[in-house]
């Protein structure tokens, strides 16, 4: 094992980690406000990746430019899903709400399979293979852009939650639902907005990764599981924690891939997941609501 390979693994891991952080921030926001672990989060990301793909293939829209379309439209889609499917069941048992998002994931994923079959599709804009050397490590430009974009987006989300009235209402609802309601916050609307923002975030993440990833109906699954790991590690409902632990998980996965043969790298991530669930369910960073 040479130092170069390790350095390369660190760079690649951190770059993908930023994207995990954004995906997980959306998931964490939804969990914080709705108290639902959204199994359909990855499926929403997959749909956004297809949207990016079709915009690029049919209309020659640059994947990064398409964020202007996917971001807002998936925000709306998220609100619609929340209003139509989740909100009517807000008093259902916790496990039934979990099943609801599982059903949603099955529908969305297989809708994509029905519409576009299972073949892998790729979006390859001219800059797809651009890269440069950082010391001894190769940095692929699309991955760098994805990481940078994800971090910017996550920070923007953070600022939004801190500085705007809607953001404050969202945080109030996450902290103390009844108190928020008593203060006159339109709880139903804020829940829908939170789900919309979460979906918008994961859609942006989807658009950001398409230039160097593949697009297929089940592509969201691996991101979804990664996001679970990240959210639990960062503390459920803790956004800063989600962003930070995104990098940790990206790093763990990438180092696992370098140090272990085959697809055993996933074992590292799952092992990390189980350990965190067992020993630090409130998250490494703390502040999350464990158990």
């Amino acid at each position: 094992m040479t130092a170069d390979l390790l350095l390369q693994a660190v760079v690649s891991g951190l770059l993908l980690g930023g994207v995990y952080g954004l995906v997980a921030s959306g998931l964490s926001l939804i969990f914080g406000v709705l108290r639902i672990i959204n199994f359909a989060h990855g499926a929403v990301m997959m749909l956004a990746m297809y949207t990016t793909y079709w915009l690029f293939t049919l209309l020659k829209v640059d994947p990064y430019l398409s964020i202007l379309v996917t971001g807002p439209s998936f925000f709306v889609l998220g609100m619609v899903i929340q209003r139509l499917v989740i909100e009517p069941n807000r008093f259902a048992a916790e496990h039934n709400q979990l099943m609801l998002t599982l059903g949603l994931a099955l529908v969305l994923e297989n809708l994509a399979l029905v519409l576009w079959q299972g073949d892998f599709r790729t979006v390859r804009p001219p800059y797809a293979s651009a890269s440069f050397m950082l010391g001894e490590a190769l940095v692929e430009v699309p991955r760098l852009v994805a990481c940078g974009g994800a971090v910017v987006m996550a920070l923007a989300l953070f600022a939004f939650l801190r500085l705007t009235d809607v953001g404050k209402a969202i945080r109030a609802l996450a902290e103390e639902p009844e108190g928020a309601m008593l203060m006159g916050i339109d709880v139903g609307r804020i829940r829908a907005v939170a789900f919309g923002i979460g979906s918008g975030c994961v859609a942006v993440a989807g658009a950001l990764v398409t230039p160097f990833f593949y697009v297929a109906p089940d592509v969201g699954e691996s991101f979804n599981i990664m996001a679970f790991v990240v959210v639990v590690l960062g503390g459920m409902g803790n956004f800063v924690g989600a962003l930070l632990s995104g990098f940790i998980v990206g790093l763990a996965e990438s180092l696992g891939a370098t140090l272990m043969p085959g697809s055993l790298k996933q074992l590292v991530v799952f092992a990390l997941f189980v350990l965190v669930l067992l020993f630090r369910p409130a998250g490494l960073v703390g502040g999350g609501r464990g158990r």
Partner: protein, 313 residues
């Protein structure tokens, strides 16, 4: 009384009619029984104890791989391998359960950790040459050998899985009226209150876990013998876990007959949609998802819950 007569009649039909069915229908009926059986096994932990496992594929896979590997390497008959797989799965279930329950994982956290355990086993199976890695294992020599759990034709397999499903239903019924069953219900409804009332919630949940994983593993062996081929995705993949819980939730989690009823609705529906949309993969699973959403939205206690409410009204 009427319910018992209906149940007896239904079992009678399930025993007598299949020899006269065309092979295609027999295959569907075998799927119904297998999924009903897996649903019933999941139901013990998920429905009665209220612990929603998303990782029952782990036990299914352990069952399938244990009996198949014992047969391929030692020539041990899968009838015994099945029990070995069941015991191994129960041990793994106790291990996973002890860790999760001991550290107080409840609700969605428990679901996530079980999912992670199943995925870990899948990754290990994919990367282990000795168990065929991602290519999986084939059970060769398919000449009839009942002692080795290999039959000519589908009918004997049907009777095996029918017996297993009936046994699972019978076990659930016994469970429902046992001390364990009552304790599990108490834990499901309010774990803290149950503990305060003196229920050993850790012990009771572990018993449900052991029973549920043991039974699920037997289903895995049946699958391996029936299809003569297993691989990590088929046996350890998330779709197996989803299949089990789907039957139970649609039929009615925490009811004796729910999982079987669910299988009788879901499996033919999936077969019909597959026949209607030939060449369009995914329609059947999409329908599963849709039914799941609809059932939770409109029949939160599943079909059996709905039947019960109608009967009371």
């Amino acid at each position: 009384m009427a319910a018992e007569v209906v149940a007896g009649l239904a079992v009678g039909i399930l025993v007598v009619a299949p020899p006269f069915l065309p092979p295609y229908f027999l295959e569907i009926l075998i799927s119904v029984m297998l999924f009903g059986y897996l649903g019933a096994a999941w139901n013990i932990l998920g429905g009665y104890a209220g612990q929603f496992s998303f990782g029952h594929a782990a036990y299914f896979g352990i069952g399938a791989y244990t009996s198949t590997l014992l047969f391929l390497t030692l020539g041990l008959t899968p009838w015994l391998g099945m029990l070995a797989g069941g015991v191994l799965a129960a041990v793994f279930g106790l291990f996973a359960g002890y860790l999760s329950f001991r550290y107080g994982l409840r609700g969605p956290y428990f679901s996530l950790v079980t999912l992670a355990f199943a995925e870990m086993l899948r990754v290990v199976a994919v990367n282990t040459k000795a168990v065929g890695s991602s290519l999986g294992l084939v059970i060769p020599n398919r000449e009839s050998a009942p002692l080795n759990f290999v039959f000519a034709g589908k009918l004997p397999y049907y009777y095996v899985i029918l017996a297993m499903a009936l046994a699972a239903v019978w076990i659930t019924r016994r469970l429902e009226r046992s001390k364990l069953g009552y304790s599990l219900l108490a834990i499901r409804e309010n774990e803290n209150a149950a503990e305060a009332a003196g229920v050993d919630s850790l012990g009771m949940k572990l018993r449900a876990m052991a029973l549920s994983s043991f039974l699920t593993a037997l289903g895995g062996t049946f699958y391996a013998q029936y299809f003569a081929y297993i691989d990590p995705t088929i046996t350890f993949g998330p779709s197996v876990s989803i299949q089990g819980l789907l039957q139970a939730i649609v039929g009615g989690a925490g009811t004796v007959l729910g999982p079987v009823i669910g299988a009788f609705v879901l499996t033919p529906m999936s077969e019909l949609s597959r026949a209607a949309f030939r060449g369009r993969a995914g329609v059947d699973v999409m329908l599963y998802g849709l039914v799941l959403i609809l059932v939770i939205s409109f029949l939160p206690n599943g079909l059996m819950g709905w039947v019960r409410r109608r009967r009371r009204a």
